[in-house]
């Protein structure tokens, strides 16, 4: 602990309201030099809001910001950067079609370009060199010439951090960077964070993963309902205590479920192969039988074909060969709507890209799959009262924290956006639930709730196909587990006998098992 020093950053009495929602309620917050302070809190607790105030994206209604004991005014992110504050956002902010170098040059004072805004070759080369130098200094290697859309999520994240460092930040705000990272990428990120601290930076780190908090934090501040409700350190705390502090009640960290009673085969995948856009075979001869009333978890490091598999099942992508049969209906080449109409629900991996229309209200987003069906419509005309009624019900039932049903879903906190999708997908009659990263970005309380809902669905006879990067989630929810590696199902096992180590071996491809083709006779 560096308590002998003065804080490099202090927030005094910060208050911020959005309409009737008090997102930050007289918050005091200190950050000391060379520390990693974790900001912990439920979905909608006000973490991102506080950080956006610090980064100049929002203006506080009240309160002041001090940097090195000096009162400062931060009107916009440029001010923040000038004061050495940089932020990596919860959702990516890179331009996908540009290279890493170009992304870093965007909006940069040093490389304004000539009168026509054209950047000289020289500038470009300087920036390139600087990226390489920064990368070496902090262990943040990225290819400066790579186009951002071709990068993996972990790499894109590194670019975001580089961008902030490149702009000269000393205080780094990382808003839920690990939500989308694989475990390996996460530990790499922690390495980077430690090396940044060593070299004099200070970090505010937001995460919902309590294990990470204990692993990386120097100090922990806990926010609830816009108020700071406590401070602690990893040494003085445990996962259970953190959960209690955060949510304000005891939380079940692993789901409890009864025996599964598998019924008839709902989803039958036969010999499915999928080619990516770049003609690479990303899923190879994949076969799977999923029965009513069971949860089948697909474990695997991200990027081993899980996303493509899900897209093929839900009709978003055309498979190369093989068959997908849902309830005896061949849907291999059906449209997403036809697949929805046979009773399939899909919680997509990327909630902002596929799952939501950000510019629409919460109410409309809650009927995105059913707006054309009764009771919301007669096929032509929409009945707004029904849409509103449904919204009120779902907001209540799923505890979606929103200023109102008419609020734009883009104004909801990340976790609450996810709840909107879950509420929509789980609350219509379904036979098959396809759920990809269901709890990404959710707080422990919400995870507990959503797990409960998934198990409830199973017990009602829904067949659940779960893809998750969280091994804990796979282990605690699944009845059966399959492991995907390099597009193949390399192992399939009963969840009872499974453990992390064994799964880990399959996931990294160091072990491969002849598939146990159990009860193929349907």
């Amino acid at each position: 602990m560096k308590n002998n020093k003065d804080p490099i950053l202090s927030l005094h009495n910060i208050t911020k309201s959005f309409g009737s929602v008090v997102a930050n309620d007289s918050i005091y917050f200190d950050l000391y030099p060379q520390e990693i302070q974790v900001l912990l809190g439920e979905n909608g607790a006000g973490k991102s809001t506080l950080m956006k105030i610090l980064y100049g994206m929002y203006q506080a209604d009240q309160g002041e910001i001090l940097i090195n004991q000096q009162k400062v005014v931060i009107q916009d992110p440029n001010d923040a950067l000038r004061l050495g504050i940089g932020m990596v956002h919860q959702h990516f902010m890179l331009v996908p079609v540009m290279t890493v170098t170009e992304n870093l040059m965007l909006g940069d004072e040093k490389t304004k370009g000539n009168a026509f805004g054209k950047l000289s070759k020289l500038d470009r080369e300087t920036v390139r060199q600087e990226i390489i130098a920064l990368g070496n200094k902090y262990g943040l290697q990225v290819n400066p010439d790579a186009v951002v859309e071709d990068l993996s999520v972990g790499e894109a994240q590194r670019v975001e951090i580089l961008k902030v460092l490149y702009k000269g930040a000393d205080i780094l705000i990382l808003d839920e960077p690990t939500a989308v990272l694989t475990p390996q990428e996460t530990s790499e990120l922690f390495e980077i964070m430690r090396s940044l601290i060593k070299q004099g930076k200070s970090i505010i780190f937001i995460t919902h993963k309590l294990k990470e908090v204990l692993a990386v934090a120097d100090r922990i501040a806990v926010l609830r309902n816009g108020k700071v409700v406590g401070h602690t350190t990893p040494a003085e705390s445990s996962i259970e205590e953190l959960a209690l502090l955060m949510v304000g009640r005891e939380v079940l960290l692993t789901a409890t479920k009864g025996q599964s009673h598998p019924g008839k085969v709902v989803l039958n995948i036969k010999d499915l192969s999928i080619k990516s856009k770049s003609e690479v075979m990303v899923v190879k001869n994949f076969s799977l039988q999923l029965r009513a009333g069971e949860i089948y978890g697909i474990a695997g490091v991200q990027g081993n074909g899980q996303s493509e598999l899900i897209e093929a099942i839900t009709g978003l992508m055309q498979p190369h060969s093989g068959h997908i049969i849902i309830l005896n209906k061949d849907v291999t080449h059906s449209s997403p709507r036809q697949i929805t109409l046979v009773g399939t629900a899909h919680v997509p991996e990327d909630r902002q890209k596929h799952g939501l229309v950000l510019g629409f209200s919460v109410a409309t987003n809650l009927v995105l799959q059913t707006y054309y069906l009764p009771p919301f419509s007669n096929g032509w005309v929409i009945y707004p009262e029904k849409v509103e009624e449904n919204a009120d019900e779902k907001i209540d039932e799923f505890d979606i924290r929103t200023p109102s049903r008419d609020a734009l879903v883009s104004n909801l906190s990340g976790g609450n956006q996810q709840k909107v999708i879950i509420a929509r997908e789980l609350s219509r009659p379904i036979n098959l639930l396809i759920i990809n990263q269901p709890t990404r970005g959710l707080d422990v309380g919400s995870i507990e709730y959503i797990h409960k809902r998934i198990i409830e669905a199973r017990d009602k006879g829904v067949a659940v196909l779960l893809v998750s990067a969280e091994l804990d989630e796979i282990l605690s929810l699944s009845d059966r587990i399959g492991v995907m590696y390099a597009g193949e199902l390399v192992a399939e096992m009963d969840a009872k006998g499974a453990n992390r180590e064994q799964l880990g071996l399959y996931m990294t491809g160091s072990k491969k098992e002849k598939m146990l083709k159990e009860n193929i006779n349907q």
């Binding site: 449209s335 997403p336 997509p348 510019g359 409309t364 707006y371 008419d406």
Partner: protein
Amino acid sequence: MAIFTALLVSSIAILLSGASPIKAFSALAVGAFGTRDNLIETVVKATPLIIAGLGVALAFRGGLFNIGVEGQLFIGSIVAVLVGTNFDLPKIINVPLVMLAGALAGALLAAFSGYLKAWHGAHEVITTIMMNYIVLRIITWAIGANGPLRKPLSIVPETRSLFESARLPLLISDTRLHMGIVIALALAAGVYFLLFRTVLGVEIRIVGKNLHAAKYVGINVKRNIVLTMALSGGLAGLAGAIQVMGIPPYNFTTGFNVGYGFDSLAVAVLGSIHPVGVVFSALLFGAMDAGARLMQLRAKVPIDIITLLQGLILMFVAANQIIRSLYHLPAPSKEDSVNLTQSWGGE
């Protein structure tokens, strides 16, 4: 706000041109609203702008930039003329028939651009502009010397007038106020209903806001694009038809409709891509058009000031970020408000 700022800035321009802004704007106001006939002129001028503006707004909502309103409007006029000078059916049939023909012509033209976008990836801005040129050429030929639609013995390029049975009835006799405004207002209500109360409208807006989500939800995006363009072009075509059906001498000459197509883009933007907004901004543009002459006459201000004023209003609306920060206004936060830069981005 944008209008206020634009008035301010153009006042400076008027001052610079040596006239009094107060005199100029009061003349403008009198010219637009001062007498019954002036008021009627404002409404008459606004009518096609409302209808075509609705077309633009509809396309915008669907994420499409229909810059081909001008061409669709022209083809609507010319087809209306074609039908209305050849068929002399009872008025009760003929008026709807001619309107329908104009709308259909605009719809088909725009739908073709929609088809090119949906199936071949050709950007609608390019194809609709090209269509504008093609339509313009065809019309120049059709009403040019020896053209098939040229009014016999006429020395200027113009068509014959529509049969009496194809003309829109007047709302007040002995004025220029024709039925068109009633149709326009009904269409505004209709477009509002379509966009915010129907399944098709929701789908248009989903496609407009998030193409990925549209696919996820299972909307047939290609069909939707063609349909949106057809509806948008249909409105533009109808605007063209109503012009020739409502305004003496009930024919088509080059010149008389020019600019309405592009003004309607401005009207849609100024009206926040919302049917109600479109009505008001069209009335504003109509008023500026109608009042311009008196302003020029009384205050000795060049008529171009009006164009400047329109341009400024538009610029300030498009740059609404500037306006917001200028007056410390909050960002829009309702579903039916739109972010222009977003709809232009297409995704």
